[in-house]
Amino acid sequence: MTFLPLIPATLLVAALATLPLYADGYCLSLSLSLLNYTVLATAWAMFSGPTRYVSLATVAFFGIGAYSVAVLGEVLPWPLVLLIAAAVGGAVALLVGLSTLRLSGVYFVVFTFGLAELIRQLVTWYEVNVTRALGRYVFVDVTQAQIYWQMLALATLVFLTGWLVGRSRLGFALRIIGDDETVAPHVGIDITIVKVALFALSAVFMTLAGAIMAPRWTYIDPAIAFNPMVSFQVLIMALLGGAGRLYGPLLGVIPLTLLFEFLIARFPNHFSIILGLVFLVIVYLVPNGVAGLTARRAAR
């Protein structure tokens, strides 16, 4: 039982919080996107790391968050908007989790593979048939620095939650499920409840990230909000860093966000090819992520 890591972590967060006071616009926006991917990849690994259930639905929840803001941002006070977005994301995750996580892992993967596309089609259908306009403008009175602070708070919250979950009975149960799903029920773990709860928790964080980022776009439509590339990038980052540890995804987020930033500016047309190749290299050469490599070296 040690609270020691909390001290440097607090100092780091405090240092990061002062960034908007002296950084220029580009630096701030880059840091914001680093924080955004940190939240998404850490939330992804929170569920998919220990259970080894690959979720391909990150952008489904991210998009739900963004759309909640686009619809409600102007009519309701901001904290209430965030609360509603989190509730919607959590509810969708519960629905998906309850119907697919009781079954074998493949069904879950297949379902998450299609989930973003499904929600995108439903939103498009709704917008075309009911509101009769495909895009929406996001007018929320918020500065970039405020978005940054909110995202920093969310990132802190993700790490704190992940840390607490890792030390709780829930996290312990989750690791047993990941190690052996046959043993888990025999030691009194309700595996469905545990998996669904963690999936919903990670989905809430993804939804909130989408909600906080939404005001940066000013204009969104279903194709922007539910861009499958986001799910893919988050997956790459989490895997490079290593999904087995709480800090793992962070090790993937920092180099890859910078790399992608560079690639999309230099090779916009070939971005998806390069991304796929980078990903293949990671799957083949660093299957347990950077965190896995260093841990193995330390164990030696």
């Binding site: 080894r52 297949v110 593979f113 299609g114 439903l122 997956l235 090819i273 796929g276 990903f279």
Partner: protein
């Protein structure tokens, strides 16, 4: 008759889905590779057929004879070059599943990226045998009937090979129990490579046939992968009859919803059907209760 109209196009679409899903069930059931880049090969074959027809004047049924063997070879090479590594590394079946999901997910973006660079995001189609034929008092384009007939011949042929020949029996044995299959002198690595390549050939055949009557674009592969996966799981993994029934069911459901409810809701219909069947029979329509 609008209902017969819808039923006819539902059956043609469903027949395509069934054929495509048969290839995936071979790859997943026998080779144990969960291939998320599956639909990209369909789109690649569709573009190839498009190029053969518009550029070289080779009609699609003849194109089939060129595209399918080519796809077989390419998929065999992919299995040998990329996937045997994962098979050798994986300690359990679940580990191979996760690794193959990840690797083919990467492959998906590579192939789709190449297709986007080569063809852009536009929709393509060509007009081959677009003459109306009257069937049961409703009219349907001849190319749809040709595609359906070709799919039936290929699917029926595959069914006979799988059930009546030594090769097919060996493949089915590997699908049921890869360890026991070795005991009766089946080379499971060769069988897996063959099944994967055969699956690739089938999806290419599906691509050529689909291109005859549907418009397609470089980014559409994911949709076909999704539908093939759904059909395979609904029918029961490794079961060809299940593919046929689930494929037809999906094609009909989609066409009926897009004709009578709203074309924007076809995917919702697909997923509702998928969930409904899974909640009712978790191992699929024809699957045996596993685990």
């Amino acid at each position: 008759m609008i209902l017969i109209d819808a039923l006819l196009s539902g059956v043609t679409l469903g027949g395509m889905y069934a054929l495509i899903a048969m290839g995936l069930t071979l790859q997943y059931g026998v080779a144990r590779i969960m291939n998320l880049s599956y639909g990209e090969f369909l789109i690649a074959a569709a573009f190839l057929a498009f190029w053969f027809f518009t550029g070289l004047g080779v009609n699609p049924p003849a194109g089939l004879l060129l595209v399918v063997p080519l796809a077989f070879l390419v998929n065999w090479a992919i299995y040998r070059a990329l996937l045997t590594w994962l098979v050798a590394r994986a300690k359990t079946r679940a580990a191979l599943e996760v690794d193959s999901i990840l690797a083919t997910f990467g492959l998906l973006f590579v192939i789709q990226g190449i297709a986007l660079v080569a063809f852009g995001g536009a929709y393509y189609s060509y007009s081959y045998l677009a003459v109306p034929v009257s069937v049961l008092g409703s009219t349907i384009a001849a190319n749809r009937l040709v595609a359906l007939a070709a799919a039936a011949v290929i699917g029926g042929g595959l069914y006979l090979v799988m059930t009546r020949t030594r090769l097919g029996t060996a493949l089915r044995a590997v699908a049921v129990d890869p360890v026991a299959a070795q005991l009766v002198a089946i080379d499971i690595r060769a069988a897996a490579a063959f099944a994967f390549a055969l699956g690739g050939g089938l999806v290419a055949a599906g691509g050529v046939l689909v291109s005859m009557f549907l418009t397609f674009s470089a980014t559409m592969g994911v949709l076909f992968t999704m539908k093939a996966l759904i059909v395979v799981i609904m029918g029961g993994v490794g079961n060809l009859m299940g593919c046929l029934v689930a494929g037809l069911l999906l094609g009909l459901a989609e066409t009926l919803v897009s004709r009578f409810v709203d074309p924007g809701l076809t995917l919702a219909a697909t997923f509702t059907l998928f969930l409904g069947i899974l909640l009712w029979r978790p191992a699929g329509l024809f699957g045996k209760a596993a685990r």
